[in-house]
């Protein structure tokens, strides 16, 4: 299913209620294995799948499961307001990495989206904003040319139209298969955010599990306001890399959202159930 290739599903006019509901139900599947029961990785309890609401929280311990962009939009934007932008960019193979085209098609099949970020425009509590929502189901949300370009275009669009930007991050970092060009996306996106910042516009990042590597070291950490979901893994270096460097055990809760809050790198940890309201209030308080 190619939900985001077809803009009409999220046009402002909206699609008939029934059709949209069908789509949403289907969209819940990618991040939860097939079958009626799933296991929560946090509390290890077995959960009846139908008990997991659209917020994708563990009914037993409240753990925040990873979401797809469609699921995120459904619980974040006012109904029918999201319009996808810059959906036409297609990944190429700059480094001639073997089988890269195949890897991409498989990721597309698995995730149901074209690349690891969905960008567009929507409303939250009636306030218009540009959004970028990353997807860890697509090659671990890694940032290659297309992700970097879509984020940059979204930010530039916001600067041009004097709109705020909200980015939901989740990423393993730079897309290794695209080599040095993926590293350059860090500079490209950060430069675009610099211009948005210079224009006095609001930029909010919501760090979701996991946000690491080149995305942490670029646009994720540049928000005027940095929110995070509870217990999200947030860091620069991967835990195995750190262990390999220092040869000692990592402390409990290392690089989790609560650790980042304690060390001053996150403004507020927000439960997913309260996220829309929090974003709405932030947008409201920045109206001129």
């Amino acid at each position: 299913m190619n939900l985001f290739g077809k803009k009409t599903y999220f046009s402002i006019e909206g699609t008939p209620e029934k059709k949209r509901n069908d789509k949403r139900k289907k969209k819940q599947e990618p991040s939860i294995p097939d079958g009626m029961w799933i296991k929560c990785n946090t509390c290890k309890n077995i959960i009846y799948k139908k008990e997991v609401s659209e917020y994708k929280l563990c009914p037993s311990c409240g753990a925040h499961f990873r979401m797809s962009p469609a699921e995120r939009i459904a619980v974040t934007c006012d109904e029918g307001t999201f319009t996808e932008l810059f959906a036409d960019l297609k990944t190429e193979n700059p480094m001639d990495y073997p089988e890269y085209e195949n890897i991409i098609s498989k990721a597309q099949e698995k995730s149901g989206i074209e690349e690891a970020v969905v960008t567009g425009c929507g409303e939250i509590g009636g306030y218009k904003t540009v959004l970028a929502i990353m997807d860890s189901h697509f090659m671990m949300g890694s940032m290659g040319s297309v992700v970097g370009e879509k984020v940059t275009r979204a930010v530039e669009y916001a600067t041009e139209n004097k709109l705020p930007v909200i980015i939901f991050t989740t990423s393993g970092g730079a897309r290794m298969q695209e080599g040095i060009i993926s590293l350059m996306q860090m500079a490209k996106t950060s430069a675009a955010i610099g211009r948005h910042n210079e224009a006095g516009l609001l930029y909010v990042t919501v760090l979701t599990d996991p946000t690491t590597g080149g995305v942490t070291a670029s646009f994720a950490m540049l928000g005027d306001i940095i929110l995070s979901e509870p217990k999200a893994l947030i860091g620069f270096a991967g835990q195995r890399v750190i262990q390999g460097t220092i040869h000692q055990k990592l402390p409990e809760g290392f690089q989790r959202a609560e650790f980042q809050l304690e060390h001053g790198f996150v403004d507020k940890i927000v439960n997913r159930l309260d996220m829309k309201e929090t974003l709405e209030t932030i947008l409201k308080l920045h109206q001129k």
């Binding site: 036409d88 960019l89 297609k90 990944t91 190429e92 193979n93 700059p94 480094m95 001639d96 990495y97 040319s145 297309v146 970097g148 370009e149 940059t152 730079a174 290794m176 298969q177 695209e178 080599g179 040095i180 060009i181 993926s182 590293l183 350059m184 996306q185 860090m186 500079a187 490209k188 950060s190 430069a191 675009a192 955010i193 610099g194 910042n197 210079e198 590597g213 080149g214 942490t216 070291a217 670029s218 646009f219 994720a220 950490m221 540049l222 860091g235 620069f236 270096a237 890399v241 750190i242 460097t245 220092i246 000692q248 990592l250 290392f254 690089q255 650790f259 060390h263 001053g264 790198f265």
Partner: protein
């Protein structure tokens, strides 16, 4: 050994000329400044003011040592967040006094450790990328050895980027690439070639603008051969960048990084 791996080995050689030696050879009146004003002085990054043929400049370099003792002091050239924050402080100072900034990049990468994470390695690098993109004074980056990923990029959002003949620049080390993508560390050579990380590869895809050649007997045995070429390039470039209206300078810098990306549009 493949051509690329030979270059990687040269770039990593412990005898290879380090930033302090380059600064000594290229500039006069160097005064080193210390500390990020928040936490500490990271000795993996050295910086300060100097003059280049009568022109005041700010110079910042990632420092490696020639033996274990030196390397323990400068953390093998892997900066911590306070190093990047010191570099940014010196760059903002350069902006205030309208001095061009010259950075010397030579690092395996930003340090990966508990303290580095606690103090926000990601935030420090991100901040440098954004601030450098908008810094209202010219920036010239010279890759003198290793250019390891975000830790190198954090000093290389520049107007012009040069690389020594045996320098390199990549999204991660060839060892890391082989073990992460193929779970097979024996395929390092293959990874190094595939990654297109040498000066010759990088000039082709416009990641760098100029290759600066080294003496055949090794840079550490004939430093003047290379520093003469760097001086010539600085002599030519500094006046051009310094006289450019700031708006044009920043526009060109923005466009330079804006263009990176290989994709098609349906």
């Amino acid at each position: 050994m493949s051509e690329t791996m030979k270059k990687v080995a040269i770039a990593r050689k412990i005898e290879r000329t380090n930033s302090r030696e380059f600064i000594e050879a290229l500039f006069d009146d160097f005064i080193e400044f210390h500390g990020d004003r928040y936490f500490a002085d990271d000795r993996a990054i050295i910086g300060g003011i100097a003059s280049f043929e009568g022109r005041s400049v700010t110079v910042i370099g990632i420092q490696k040592g020639h033996d274990l003792e030196e390397n323990l002091q400068c953390n093998f050239g892997s900066p911590n967040p306070e190093g990047y924050r010191k570099a940014l402080r010196l760059m903002k100072q350069a902006e205030k006094f309208k001095r061009p900034v010259i950075t010397l990049v030579n690092t395996a990468g930003a340090f990966c450790g508990i303290g580095a994470e606690e103090r926000g390695q990601g935030e420090a690098i991100a901040r440098n990328l954004m601030e450098m993109a908008g810094l209202k004074t010219p920036i010239i980056s010279i890759f003198t050895g290793e250019g390891g990923s975000g830790g190198a990029l954090a000093l290389a959002v520049a107007d012009t980027i040069w690389m020594l003949e045996n320098g390199m620049y990549s999204v991660l080390s060839p060892e890391g690439f082989a073990s992460i993508l193929w779970r097979d560390s024996s395929r390092v050579e293959e990874a190094a070639t595939l990654m297109k990380m040498t000066a010759k590869d990088l000039i082709k895809n416009h990641v760098i603008d100029k290759i600066i050649y080294e003496a055949p007997e090794g840079i550490e045995n004939n430093l003047e051969f290379t520093t003469d070429k760097i001086k010539e390039a600085l002599r030519e470039t500094l006046p051009v960048l310094s006289e450019m209206p700031v708006e044009e300078l920043l526009d060109k810098r923005y466009q330079r990084f804006r263009q990176y990306g290989v994709f098609s549009e349906r």
